[in-house]
């Protein structure tokens, strides 16, 4: 099993204690696309942050590619994020005063075996816009850059937090198509969180989160190509 989450718990204290994750279990094979569905406050982002090594769990374990990341110290977590995980955020999180190419170099700069910037730019269809600044691009193009930045290190795991949440239908479909292509071309395992249940059709594994628990998990035998997804 490439990704294995077992009995994961997490709570926050903001005056009162809020149990965000209450024993979450999920598993994914290498090279799969997984989708976590759930309403706001269900614990999707917290789960993703723990898997990404950005946050720490209170209990339970997370293993990625055989490495138990819940046992890693802060420095080891930095190495894990640096080498193994790519992030795609809802609002792109690009560095506004760096060009498209430079935003990708932010990651290739610290990776051991990065892909070539031009190759990645070509893969996301932005070769002609490499010297533009993020503000000069549409939302969809910015998300393409965000994906390019995430895959340039050729990560084992690509974590996408609502990658289409800020985009219109057509653009969203192009982003999903791109993610599917990345998955196929580089064999990258992708875990995506979303409100949009229509996206579940393109995933191998689907997990429905409700109030910090996995209410339902399913595995699709037939994967729908992203361009056929409708909502």
């Amino acid at each position: 099993m490439f990704l294995s989450v077992s009995n994961l718990t997490k709570s926050y204290c903001t005056g009162t204690i809020t149990h965000v994750l209450k024993g979450v279990d999920l598993k994914m094979e290498r090279g799969q696309i997984g989708v976590i569905l759930g309403p706001s406050g269900s614990g999707k982002s917290t789960l993703m942050n723990i898997i990404g090594g950005v946050d720490r769990a209170d209990g339970g374990t997370v293993e990625v590619g055989g490495e138990r990341i819940t046992d890693l110290n802060d420095n080891q977590l930095v190495e894990y994020r640096r080498e193994s995980v790519g992030f795609v955020f809802q609002f792109y999180s690009l560095v506004s005063n760096l060009t498209v190419a430079e935003n990708i170099e932010v990651v290739s700069n610290i990776s051991k075996n990065p892909l070539k910037t031009d190759e990645v730019l070509s893969a996301v269809g932005l070769s002609d816009k490499k010297n533009r600044f993020p503000r000069e691009l549409s939302g969809g193009e910015q998300q393409h850059v965000s994906i390019a930045r995430a895959i340039v290190k050729n990560p084992k795991l690509l974590l996408c937090d609502e990658p289409t949440g800020a985009l219109d239908f057509q653009t969203s479909r192009s982003i999903l198509k791109l993610l599917q292509e990345v998955n196929k071309k580089y064999g990258t395992t992708i875990l995506m969180i979303t409100h949009n249940s229509a996206i579940a059709g393109m995933a191998h594994a689907v997990f429905r989160l409700r109030s910090g628990e996995v209410a339902e998990s399913a595995h699709n035998s037939e994967i729908i190509p992203a361009e056929r997804i409708e909502w």
Binding site: V54, S93, V95, N97, V106, N109
Partner: protein, 753 residues
């Protein structure tokens, strides 16, 4: 309104940064009040005393008493007064008794009372202090007992030198004032007392022309003149004037520089606050708030900061003025008029920063506040924009880290400008301190004193002639005349006649080779001031004594530091100035010569150069305080910019942490990005310092005719460079903690940059 509560919260959020800004403003106001306070109080004491007690414009002696003084006074528009001067030797010193004058050089009683009864005496305060004499006590002078009734100051003895041409005060020497009758009562008076004249012109303009006219008239009337010296060249009078001019000239520009730097940084910060509040402002507009209400709200921050800094600087400066004035006047005898402050300057010290900073902040925030509620609520103001420099930069050939650092710096032009100018200002102050110290050391080590091969200079009251008696072996005659180029009275210098085989003075050219004494040589600082070179002719050189005009062709340039003179052969000098062959006024000697003291106007002894350092400015103290100030400014500026940069890059830093950047890598990327700006700022400081120093020294030269060379020592430049970068490194470490505290959740929450 409720918004008011927010003002203090905004300030509290970035306490450190606002404290830094308040300190910058405080330094500006402090310097303004301290410099104007010191200059005005010095002026009040020195110039006020000179005016109120009618300081002489001229002192001289004659071979016979001037007969009809009142006729001469009306003919020349002058007040002339004769006073008696009688030196009494004491067991441990010497006291010069002066008769009280009533028209000019009027004595001011500093403590005790004035002269009322026969046998009363007023003493100068340093003399009574060093001799352990108190008011109410007595002093015995040549067998006569005097009652000490007080201490006094006289305008022609502000700096108490025994002889007119002395450089240093004579140990144990002092002055006292007794009634004319008491002086006349000394039995040996007729042989030992002298009459000295002081003159003061009614018209306060064209003093040189009036002096020349009076000189001509006295010669015409058959008087032979000696010890003819105008106040401008009289060290007893002119010594405290240098401090006033330099203080006055720099009070406003230095303060303004601090305020401008503060303007830049406050402008950047307030702009940032207003930008980040764009949506809130739009919402408040939508709720019915007026633009002026919100302008007032955001203006409260810069106004509060500048008023607090201005007020604190002013209040801190007030008690500092007295000790500085006292330390500057420690060698001078002046009435204490008390320290006062100009209400206008006090108001300016508080209002200037408020006006400067308030206006710049208003201009910066106006653009945003002018927008409509809908435009603001879209939140576009919060999104970082790419400026024209960022757009124009093509950095493909650089490594990523270099690209990132360059972009980080050019992201905010005002911030970059503040850093570069701020570091320049700090470097300029530091370099100026070191250069001033080095220049003064060079002047002391290689200046006038080093020129003396024969260390003793005897100046006579009257011109003497070699034909009346030879000069001992190991001694040489010189003759001198004070001159200025026509139309430039501020450029005064000595025209010196010396024998062609003289060895008493070193006369070397720029390369260090000995120049011939048989030609006309000019000192290098004077040559550069007059913009002349070898082979040029100085036209219309005016003698200060009699107004006669000469022309001189310059044959050589003498390497010198700060000195202003022209050397020429003695015979040519006497011929040119119309004096008999063999005339001389000065003897330079390798050994002590027993001249009759009554013939001498002063003796200069170059054997103990350290004695001169005591009366020169305390340069080490100046350098230490100037360096401390520079370091403080550098710390504040680098800290402000770095912390501002960390704040502006908060989301990027957080994002980079998520992406796997290590702490050290982030510190290198963010904190090291200012290094080129600090580097450029430092090197810009050097030409700024040279321009500043040359303008200051040029001003001082014009006012008091004193040339200070600007000597830049590479070692001190290196030390300054290391010091500025050490400050940068320390500040980086301080800010490194702030960097470490930024959490990854910031980027996750912020979403878009």
């Amino acid at each position: 309104m409720a918004l008011r509560k927010r003002v203090l919260r905004i300030i509290k959020e970035n306490k450190g940064r606002y404290i830094g800004i308040v300190i910058l403003i405080l330094l500006g106001s402090f310097y303004f009040i301290a410099a104007t306070g010191v200059a005005n109080n010095l002026e009040k004491m020195v110039v006020g005393f000179a005016e109120e007690y009618r300081q002489e414009d001229l002192t001289f002696s004659t071979d016979k008493p001037i007969k009809d003084i009142s006729a001469l006074e009306s003919e020349t528009g002058t007040l002339i007064e004769a006073y008696r001067q009688y030196d009494v030797k004491l067991s441990n010193g010497e006291l010069r008794l002066l008769s009280p004058s009533s028209k000019i050089n009027i004595p001011a009683v500093l403590s005790g009372r004035g002269l009322e009864n026969p046998g009363d005496i007023l003493l100068d305060p340093y003399f009574s202090q060093t001799q352990g004499l108190d008011i109410g006590g007595q002093i015995e002078l040549n067998g006569k007992t005097f009652n000490i009734v007080g201490t006094m100051a006289v305008p022609n003895y502000v700096y108490i030198l025994k002889n007119l041409y002395d450089v240093l005060p004579t140990s144990g020497f002092g002055i006292g004032i007794v009634s004319g009758a008491d002086i006349e009562a000394f039995p040996e008076l007729s042989s030992e007392a002298v009459t000295v004249y002081g003159a003061r012109f009614h018209a306060r303009e064209n003093i040189n022309a009036q002096t020349t006219k009076l000189h001509g008239l006295l010669i015409e009337k058959g008087y032979s003149l000696s010890e003819w010296l105008d106040a401008k060249n009289n060290k007893r009078i002119n010594m405290p004037y240098g401090n006033i001019s330099s203080m006055k000239s720099m009070s406003f520009p230095v303060a303004a520089a601090f305020f401008l730097l503060s303007c830049l940084i406050v402008g950047v910060m307030i702009m940032r606050t207003v930008k980040s509040d764009g949506v809130v402002i739009g919402t408040l507009y939508a709720q019915g708030y007026r633009r002026r209400e919100l302008t007032r709200h955001y203006m409260a921050v810069p106004v509060l900061l500048s008023a607090a800094g201005g007020l604190a600087g002013t209040l801190l400066a007030l008690p500092c003025v007295r000790p500085v004035v006292d330390s500057m006047l420690v060698h001078y005898v002046l009435p204490d008029k008390g320290i006062t402050f100009s209400p206008l300057n006090l108001t300016l010290a508080v209002l200037m920063p408020v006006a400067f900073i308030g206006l710049s902040s208003f201009l910066m925030m106006r653009r945003i506040l002018k927008k409509t509620a809908v435009e603001l609520m879209k939140g576009d103001e919060q999104k970082a924009k790419v400026n024209f420099i960022e757009r124009a930069l093509r950095l493909d050939r650089f490594k990523f880290n270099t690209k990132f650092r360059i972009r980080e710096q050019v992201r905010s032009i005002p911030r970059l400008l503040f850093l570069v100018l701020g570091v320049s200002a700090a470097s300029m102050i530091l370099l100026f301190g070191f250069t001033f110290n080095y220049s003064m050391n060079v002047v002391m080590d290689k200046g006038a004193l080093e020129r003396y091969v024969y260390p003793l200079e005897y100046n006579f009251k009257e011109v003497r002639n070699l034909q009346d008696g030879g000069i001992p072996k190991g001694a040489e005659p010189y003759n001198t005349l004070r001159c200025y180029p026509e139309g430039r009275e501020s450029v005064e210098f000595y025209l010196v006649g010396m024998e062609s085989d003289s060895v008493g003075f070193k006369v070397n050219d720029i390369r260090g080779n000995a120049l011939s004494r048989d030609q006309v040589n000019i000192s290098s600082p004077l040559a550069s001031r007059l913009r002349i070179k070898e082979g040029d002719t100085i036209l219309s050189l005016v003698s200060k004594l009699d107004g006669k005009s000469y022309s001189l062709k310059i044959d050589g340039i003498v390497k010198a530091y700060g000195e202003q003179f022209v050397y020429m052969p003695l015979d040519e000098f006497n011929h040119l100035t119309g004096q008999p062959l063999g005339s001389y006024r000065t003897v330079l000697s390798s050994h002590e010569i027993d001249f009759d003291e009554n013939l001498l106007a002063g003796v200069m002894d170059a054997r103990d150069p350290e004695a001169y350092e005591n009366v020169s400015m305390p340069t080490t103290l100046i350098v230490a305080s100037v360096s401390a100030l520079a370091v403080l400014i550098a710390v504040i500026i680098i800290f402000l910019v770095t912390s501002l940069m960390i704040d502006e890059s908060r989301n990027t830093i957080s994002l980079l942490k998520i992406l796997g950047y290590r702490g050290k890598e982030l510190a290198k990327l963010i904190l090291n990005s200012s290094a080129p700006a600090v580097f450029i700022g430092f090197w810009l400081g050097l030409p700024f310092m040279l321009a500043f120093g040359n303008s200051l020294y040029g001003y001082v030269a014009e006012i008091i005719n004193m040339l200070i060379p600007m000597m830049v020592n590479p070692l001190y430049v290196l030390i300054s460079f290391v010091l500025i970068f050490a400050v940068y490194e320390v500040t980086k470490r301080l800010c490194g903690r702030k960097l470490a505290k930024i959490s990854m959740s910031d980027a996750l929450k912020a979403g878009a940059e």
